[in-house]
Amino acid sequence: MTQTDKDVIIIGGGPAGLAAAVKLHELGVRDILILEREHALGGILRQCIHDGFGLTRFSQTLTGPEYAQRFIDAAAEQGIAYMLDTTVLRMSAAHAVTAASRKGLHRFNARAIILAMGCRERTRGALSIPGARPTGIYTAGVAQSYINLQNTMVGKNAVILGSGDIGMIMARRLTLEGARVSAVFELQPYPSGLPRNVEQCLYDYDIPLYLRHTVTNILGDARLQAVEVSEVGEDLRPLPGTQRLYPCDTLILSVGLIPENELALDAGVLLDAHTGGAVVDESYQTTVPGIFAAGNVLHVHDLVDFVSLEAERMAEAVKRYLAGEQAKPAIAVSAGRDVAYALPQHISGARDALLTFRPRRPLRDATLRVLQDGQAILTKRFPRMLPAQMEQALLPAAALKSHNPVEVVIGDA
């Protein structure tokens, strides 16, 4: 087993890990190492070949691989060290990191650790759909990887469960590749992905989107033959007597993403039940000093631009930590009415904090309010808010009245 000391170990070489590394290097932190499980840098973007990335970060619309390449090139130019085919197995609160590659086990001691492991997809198991277990059922990301990276078509006649962005993007991709996509079914009364994807991925190709519907049975022996779909009621439970059969050989699941946090739990990092990611302060520092998190491992992002920006802000905080700044989490931040989650979960009060949140339901003419001591210390209006769209608001340190807890609430017109 090799043993190495590093200033910063970055776990994951996707957009979050890369942006953090490039920024740290720019800030003069040079003793850094990225550990990446896959055979290439770039993370999930390597398989997202459609365009629409980069408008916020680069003021230009790029495809996933092009966006990732910008950061890969920047990292190469700076000579940032990375190890591929290297999976981190363990991490301790004392900053010991154990990773495995074909060369064997490696042990690192880091002054700071950055968690950038991304997320994984929710599967059929997590949904517990009854019925047979034939082949032909894929999560959207797995289908995307088969088609876009491995040149393997997944089927000819597909049905999609869940209206997440990746599911809608796969509906278009399958259609372009010559498959028939008969419908997308969504449990909630609203789409869970962005309106632009409903428009350009479904409506452009006459793919119907059925809201308040779910798959209630799966039929087929060796290969999937059909799914039974039912309407759901207000309580989101299937309504008896509404079943319809949809013949198909492929079922694509786009039913949510879960931050990849087994390693964080190992080190005793406290997780937030709403985000599935670490509890952090305004510096993206977790509850274990010197362990930071950004990107999908912290909370699921819909847009990579915000992943990069978050990782860059975190890198600045890591630099301050290495220079000796101590975190003093003092003020608790909680998600109140109509807020699905709010980050950070606690703040020091010493610095401005960028609040990141999602609404619990679609809202029009919505007002975000940050309350402390019964008073609104920040108010921001939004013409429209959607659960599919992450929102942000800057909470200046000067706005804080005390060290009492802060609550984030949303009200509509």
């Binding site: 390597r46 070949i49 916020t56 990276l149 372009l176």
Partner: protein, 121 residues
């Protein structure tokens, strides 16, 4: 007649309302957060344009596929013609990001370009 559009040019996805006259011309357009939205709706009303992304088969590469996109959007009605052209194409490795793989595709004035590097296998 009032028509509703969702602008697809950026993730904001503005809902845009357009009052379309009997001559098919938009009289009033509202709801766009930036000027690109208005231009988008005018284009949608007369001739919708879309960009597409796909992949091209690579011969002798480290990977079987190279992802591609168009350098500018094409008429919506030509998407499947473009897909047939992209499916039929074969390119030898190595391929470099930005490389033109099919110039002036379908004579529409746009190129099919590589969006990643694919080295020799």
């Amino acid at each position: 007649m009032l028509k509703l559009y969702t602008c697809i040019l950026c993730p904001n996805g503005c809902e845009i309302r357009a009052e379309v006259g009997e001559d098919g011309q938009p009289a009033a357009i509202a709801g766009h957060r930036c000027p690109r939205g208005e231009a988008y709706v005018r284009q949608e009303i007369c001739a919708p344009l879309r960009n597409i992304a796909s992949s091209v088969l690579v011969e002798g590469g480290e990977l079987p596929l190279c992802s591609v996109r168009l350098t500018s959007p094409i008429p919506k009605a030509r998407i499947f013609d473009m897909m047939r052209l992209i499916h039929a194409a074969r390119v030898p490795a190595p391929v470099e990001l930005g490389q033109v793989l099919i110039p002036n595709a379908l004579g529409l004035g746009c190129d099919v370009i590589a969006t990643r590097n694919v080295g020799e296998g």
